[in-house]
């Protein structure tokens, strides 16, 4: 079973040379730590930056320089600033190659729910609805089951939706799966030490298993 860093490390393998990538809050933010040194990848922050760098050294924090999670950050050489309309303009126009974000639920047709739990505090969708409606490739990083032990990979989402038919791939502590256009979670890889049966038991939506499923290489 993978921990959060393991999930991030596996997702980092989906990031390729030359990509512009938007990383969401939580596990997706950790992905940046596993992008190989020397690979040319530009990270977008939807509050108006291309070229997110590492966290600043103690004492170098700049209140005018934050990411979308409101954390202090730095920039890398070649970075640029812009306003929020241009930021979502480039997202909407499909210029951002890859979006990685967390989710509460994903359905077998690629719907995603990640912004609201009715009856509890509603914080808002931030940029999530814009990102999932427009990104060309969306990978979800999440736990396979929730704290109550219930599957988060479902026939249909039960929580209010963030977007429809948009998730392409899911990486959890148990597995890598892709979402087929005709519906269904196709199992691609197992986490180290996890059996196909364990993944089947943790997946409420339609799981498609074709042949022998390899273990992830991290």
């Amino acid at each position: 079973m993978l921990d959060k860093n393991g999930i991030a490390k596996r997702i980092a393998k989906e990031v390729k040379q030359g990509m512009y990538v938007n990383l969401g809050i939580g596990i997706p933010t950790l992905v940046a730590n596993y992008i190989p040194l020397g690979m040319d990848v530009v990270l977008q922050s939807e509050n108006g930056l291309l070229g997110i760098g590492p966290f600043p050294f103690d004492g170098d924090e700049d209140p005018d320089l934050i990411n979308a999670g409101k954390q202090t950050i730095t920039t890398v050489p070649g970075s640029s600033f812009f306003d929020s309309a241009m930021s979502f303009g480039m997202i909407r126009a499909g210029k951002v190659d890859l979006t990685i974000l967390g989710a509460m639920e994903v359905s077998e047709n690629g719907d995603i729910a990640n912004w609201k739990i009715p009856g509890k505090m509603v914080k808002g969708m931030g940029g999530a609805m814009d990102l999932v409606a427009s990104a060309r490739n969306i990978i979800v990083a999440m736990q396979h089951v929730n704290k109550a032990g219930e599957s988060k990979l479902l026939p249909q989402c039960e929580l209010p939706l963030t977007g429809i038919r948009c998730v392409k791939k899911i990486v959890t502590e148990l597995a890598v799966l892709d979402v087929l256009p005709e519906g269904g979670f196709r199992l691609l890889e197992r986490a180290p030490g996890i059996s196909t049966e364990q993944i089947r038991n943790a997946t409420k939506g339609k799981l498609i298993v074709e042949g022998d499923i390899p273990e992830m290489v991290l």
Partner: protein, 232 residues
């Protein structure tokens, strides 16, 4: 073309109760601190605030929530504010949550003189309820209206007496968009210079969108999430 006023109090003097305000900033980054303090001194009530966030309990728009000056918030994310949550659950505060890109682009439309935009954000979700859906090239889009804002209040890094503005790093965020969308736009700046001193090639927002400008003071620039790495 001299748009300089001498204080935040003078800049906001005629904002009436029940006005629709736009406020720049993302989290606490690039918020008009001086003008918010002046609005609290003036005690203007029943405000509708269009702003990406609602501040925190003891800073930013959160301060105006403590004093019950805000009737309605239109935002994309309001997650860091306990007083906000209390007023929302008790029904004292009306809240309209909208996607962040939709918020930005409805402001842009207002500043560009366009009545509405089409965006795919929110299609198939509760955001789409009651909105016109149009299909272009096999994809669905929602019709979203441009904002109408009585007074816009923004924070810039540098400005000149004509109201030309330059922003710094990610404190630009919503500021130029909010500024463009206001019928009356107030800009507070860290550094105010005579017209002609800023390089015209470096202006982020032309002064035609700004009606009043003043030099702010005592900026706290609070950080919400101080994240650092150890020195090697």
């Amino acid at each position: 073309m001299n748009k300089v006023v001498h204080s935040a109090d003078e800049a906001i003097y005629d904002i009436p109760d029940n006005a629709v305000l736009g406020l720049g900033g993302f989290g606490l980054c690039g918020i008009p601190e001086n003008s918010i303090s002046a609005l609290i001194r003036k005690g203007t009530k029943g405000l509708t605030c269009i702003s990406n966030n609602a501040g925190v309990d003891d800073f930013g728009i959160g301060l105006m929530l403590q004093t019950r000056q805000v009737k309605k918030m239109i935002s994309s994310y309001v997650g860091e504010n306990a007083e906000f949550e209390r007023q929302l659950l008790s029904g004292e505060l009306e809240v309209n949550l909208i996607p962040q890109g939709t918020l930005a682009t409805r402001l842009l439309a207002a500043g560009y003189g366009m009545p509405a935009i089409f965006t795919p954000a929110g299609v198939g979700t509760e955001v789409a309820e009651g909105k016109e859906v149009r299909r272009f090239n096999d994809k669905d889009y929602l019709l979203e209206m441009a904002f109408e804002i009585d007074f816009s209040i923004v924070k810039a890094w540098k400005g000149d007496t004509h109201g030309n503005l330059i922003f710094r790093k990610t404190s630009r965020n919503f500021n130029p968009l909010i500024a463009m969308a206001g019928k009356i736009t107030i800009a507070e700046v860290e550094e105010l210079v005579p017209a002609g001193e800023l390089d015209p090639d470096h202006i982020h927002l032309p002064g035609i969108y700004v009606h009043r400008i003043f030099k702010g003071s005592g900026y706290e620039k609070r950080i919400e999430q101080r994240t650092i790495r150890p020195r090697q």
